[in-house]
């Protein structure tokens, strides 16, 4: 196993696990607290559409995915605000439209479709050094923005109306989180694939939320769970020769289950006792 770490594909996979785990969990904490977990699914399918447009038009699929997710991110917030409906409804509509258009283009894509389909299933072992570099740059930007604007992001995550009434530029941060989540999802698409990436957004954040009583610890613990899930999943998939993306998601789901069972927050608040 150690010898494998000397091989460049495994180094790329480990780096992608670390970078992807950190940035996906950070965005996961935000979308979980904003109660728009559907954002991950919508963005992954927008990324899939963008990548297929890239393949169809002959440019880099990663660039297409980044552009499509950035555009989706710019549309979701303002449309939801002005349509008088919840962001989740708008995400559902954009998700289905993106999926329909992606399948339409996929059917018309000439030649083998394996490169496009890899975006659905994910292939962390084939991730290139350039893709790792893009993911690393996005992760650094996410961590930097989170550190600099932590108090504003905390206020917006707590309650957008209260943040606005306190004089905070709530729209900038709210829409900013949505746009950045799109970039994170599109850059991380190769780790577990479009179908499963939403779970890597939601599971570590919710597992950490069972354990933490402070917001900054929630970001740290969610990152540890996400990176741990990716690395453990990578090792297990090598040992048992099973698909990496699926194992990573199952490990993160197991982490949530364990956190739920042993949650000190749940036991202290007695939340389970309030059920009928």
């Amino acid at each position: 196993m150690i010898e494998l770490l000397h091989m460049s594909f495994m180094q790329n996979a480990v780096l992608a696990s670390v970078f992807g785990g950190v940035c996906l969990s950070a965005i996961g904490v935000c979308v979980t607290l904003m109660e728009i977990p559907f954002l991950g699914i919508c963005m992954s399918h927008s990324a899939f559409l963008g990548a297929i447009v890239g393949l169809t038009c002959g440019f880099n699929p990663l660039l297409g995915a980044l552009l499509a997710c950035g555009l989706t991110g710019l549309l979701v917030g303002p449309i939801a605000d002005h349509a008088g409906t919840s962001s989740n409804n708008i995400l559902g509509i954009i998700f289905s439209a993106a999926m329909g258009l992606a399948f339409l283009l996929l059917a018309r894509l000439p030649g083998p479709k394996s490169e496009a389909l890899n975006l659905i299933w994910g292939s962390i072992l084939t991730i290139s050094r350039a893709e790792v570099a893009v993911l690393g740059a996005i992760t650094a930007a996410v961590v930097l923005l989170l550190a600099v604007f932590y108090k504003e992001i905390r206020a917006v995550l707590f309650n957008r109306e209260i943040a606005a009434a306190s004089g905070i530029a709530d729209g900038v941060f709210y829409y900013g989180i949505i746009v950045i989540s799109g970039l994170v999802v599109s850059a991380s698409l190769n780790i577990v694939g479009g179908l499963l990436i939403a779970s890597l957004l939601v599971n570590p954040a919710n597992a950490a939320n069972q354990l933490c009583t402070r917001l900054w610890t929630l970001f740290v613990v969610a990152a540890l769970i996400a990176v741990g899930s990716c690395l453990i999943g990578l090792a297990l998939s090598y040992c048992f020769e099973v698909p990496t993306g699926a194992v990573i998601v199952l490990v993160s789901s197991a982490a949530f289950l364990a956190a739920f069972i042993f949650s000190p927050r749940r036991r202290h608040s007695g939340a389970d006792k309030e059920l009928p």
């Binding site: 108090k151 109306e161 209260i162 009434a165 306190s166 004089g167 905070i168 530029a169 009583t213």
Partner: protein, 292 residues
């Protein structure tokens, strides 16, 4: 600015004493002014030709039935809603314009039933510190003055001992006090509270009203308090503005609220509720008359 008290048909309200509103603006700066304001929510008119003002030192009770436009007034003051006609000025600025964040920075706002996830992992001090974010500036850490303001706000509402407690472990009354502390730590020039006693038990309601009375008495902080139950209003509240279908039905001294015609605007076809409020008012009468 004196507001002509009007009824549904724009007829002058008998028994209103608009001189109180006028007196409150004499020699003190106007904080907020509505000039013939129309606000629609969708196609539904929420405020119709509404004119009134709030002066420094006012403790104004904003009352009326459901849908009368109380919350719309509060949201218009904050600039969340833009009038279709007329003008709203707060501290001499347009609250929905380019200077909206400057306006909001000077207003302490406690919303009605804020959609807060009480399972969110933040403590009382974190919540209160939201009030200092705009003062510190975007991307800048809170300074010593901000932390001092947070401590002072926690002490003012009597919840210093709860500073490190997670929000999910607070009672309803403690949560409301934390919200008031957040509003206070903005060091506001105007405090807006939208139904702050909503969903609180009787003791917590009294606590909340006592706190507002104390804040007004000690600091002379102008307060606009939206309430359904006029019997629960604190004795320090000297002025009342009654809204009905987005119009001013009464603007005057608090004692005038208990006139038959005004009670009808608040309680509709339920005069017994009005009578109960009057009885409650007569119990508080001595202290109320003292403040009037």
């Amino acid at each position: 600015m004196t507001t002509p008290a009007t009824r549904e048909q724009d007829a002058p309200m008998a028994g209103a004493t608009p001189s109180v509103a006028a007196a409150s603006t004499q020699g003190v700066p106007l904080l907020c002014e509505f000039r013939s304001v129309d606000v629609r929510i969708g196609r539904q008119p929420a405020l119709c030709d509404l004119s009134f003002s709030i002066a420094g030192g006012d403790f104004l009770a904003l009352v009326g039935s459901n849908g009368s436009g109380k919350t719309t007034v509060i949201r218009s003051i904050l600039g969340f809603l833009r009038p279709q006609r007329g003008a709203v000025r707060v501290f001499g600025m347009d609250p929905a314009g380019r200077q909206r964040r400057l306006v909001r920075q000077r207003i302490g706002y406690v919303p009605q039933n804020p959609a807060m996830d009480m399972r969110m992992p933040i403590c009382v001090r974190d919540l209160v510190s939201i009030g200092r974010c705009a003062h510190a500036g975007a991307g800048r850490r809170l300074g010593a003055a901000d932390h001092a303001a947070i401590d002072a706000a926690l002490a003012a509402v009597g919840i210093s001992q709860l500073a490190a407690r997670p929000l999910g472990q607070l009672s309803g009354g403690e949560r409301q006090k934390a919200q008031i502390a957040r509003a206070l730590c903005q060091e506001p020039a105007l405090l807006l509270l939208d139904e702050p006693t909503c969903n609180l038990d009787a003791a917590a309601q009294c606590d909340c009203m006592d706190l507002l009375s104390r804040l007004y008495t000690e600091r002379r902080l102008p307060i606009v308090l939206v309430m359904h139950d006029i019997a629960a209003l604190p004795a320090t509240c000297a002025r009342a503005l009654v809204l009905e279908r987005g119009r001013v039905a009464y603007d005057g001294a608090f004692a005038g609220l208990y006139e038959d015609e005004v009670l009808r605007f608040i309680y509709g076809p339920h005069p017994l509720a009005g009578l109960r409020a009057m009885r409650q008012a007569s119990d508080d009468g001595d202290s109320r008359r003292h403040h009037d």
